[in-house]
Symmetry: C2
Subunit: 212 residues, 2 copies
């Protein structure tokens, strides 16, 4: 309905030159109704990605507590991206190089990186028994979400004839995962063991700081 109207108009006029009034008129509803379905105009650009992030959250919520955190994130993220691009390429990717639109596409895309990072951070927090705003949790979550964003970026750049997003995401996650294992698995193991031994690098100084 609204999304279909938006697809047509963005392709005809670009995102920037399409008003919410035009979209709702084509969809046959009132302009005010738009905001019953979307928080902002830019939400239209990321419908599939938002659904993907929701699905990632759902997948991660089904992971048993205390298991290997990193591989669970990786596996869930890859399951989610496996289906992307099959039905419809996210609208944002069709607008990235269109004049006047890049800034808002990027800005709203970043909001998705942040959202995905929140989902991952919440999961890591649960798995390794640390607060959600712990430095290890946040650094790892940002790195993983940033890797997925990098995969999207390169996938979009490769254009028609590119391979599946899955391959890009798999590679990107591999790049950041090697070292994160060193931080996260000892933390998870400490959780499983039920004691408070800190992992090698980071836990020590942040624990000392927070303790005083």
């Amino acid at each position: 309905m609204l999304e279909d109207a938006a697809v047509e108009l963005f392709l005809e006029n670009t995102y920037a030159l399409t008003t919410i009034e035009q979209i709702t008129q084509r969809a046959g509803v009132s302009r005010n109704t738009f905001f019953n379905y979307f928080s902002a105009k830019s939400d239209l650009l990321w419908v599939e990605l938002d659904a993907g992030i929701d699905r990632l959250a759902a997948e991660l919520s089904r992971v048993p507590a205390g298991g290997p955190a990193l591989s669970a994130v990786r596996d869930a993220a890859l399951r989610v991206v496996y289906d992307v691009g099959v039905d419809r390429v996210p609208l944002a990717l069709t607008q990235d190089d269109v004049m006047g639109t890049r800034e808002e596409t990027r800005s709203s895309g970043l909001a998705r990186l942040a959202r995905r990072s929140d989902v991952i951070a919440a999961f890591l927090s649960r798995q390794i028994g640390r607060p959600v705003d712990d430095l290890l949790v946040l650094s790892a979550a940002n790195a993983l979400s940033g890797a997925i964003s990098a995969a999207w970026t390169v996938w979009a750049r490769d254009g028609i004839g590119r391979g599946p997003l899955f391959d890009y995401a798999s590679d990107a996650l591999a790049i950041v995962s090697i070292g994160l294992d060193a931080g996260l698995e000892p933390a998870a193991a400490a959780r499983m063991a039920g004691n408070d031994i800190d992992p090698v690098i980071t836990g020590e100084s942040s624990e000392e700081r927070s303790g005083s």
Copy 2:
């Protein structure tokens, strides 16, 4: 001038409830003049951080080409954050928990993460001789920039009596750096050697894809 007026007004009224008209009136200039100095209202929140990113870019531009990329990024970033908080805590951090402001603080903060990531990606690209939108370059840049953002987040959360940002950033960068060494240093070594041997994990599949 404008910044001082903004500092006062944000603390009096919160960011969200302060208009650009109020800021420019207090500063004794026209509202339109505001946009000669700032692209957007939210730029006021990040003056110090933006200066820091500019300084990071300048520091990285002075690194000789072809050296160890990752430690250069780490060293430069840590030099930059060393001075943060000494003069004035970024305004954004005083507004983070203020009602109605969190969303925009976060959103404009993300734009800074992206900018920092761009600076790092450009540097890594130069050091290892890969395109700026290469998957390894982007993943690493996002991870490093995400770590610095995580450090900011946790530093802000720790509130008064916290340690220097330097320590947080140092820890965060350490978390993500371990594995990135595995990807970046072989790529830099390949550059130095003047051949096109791919690094172990990622280069192979992305080179094959791009080549065809």
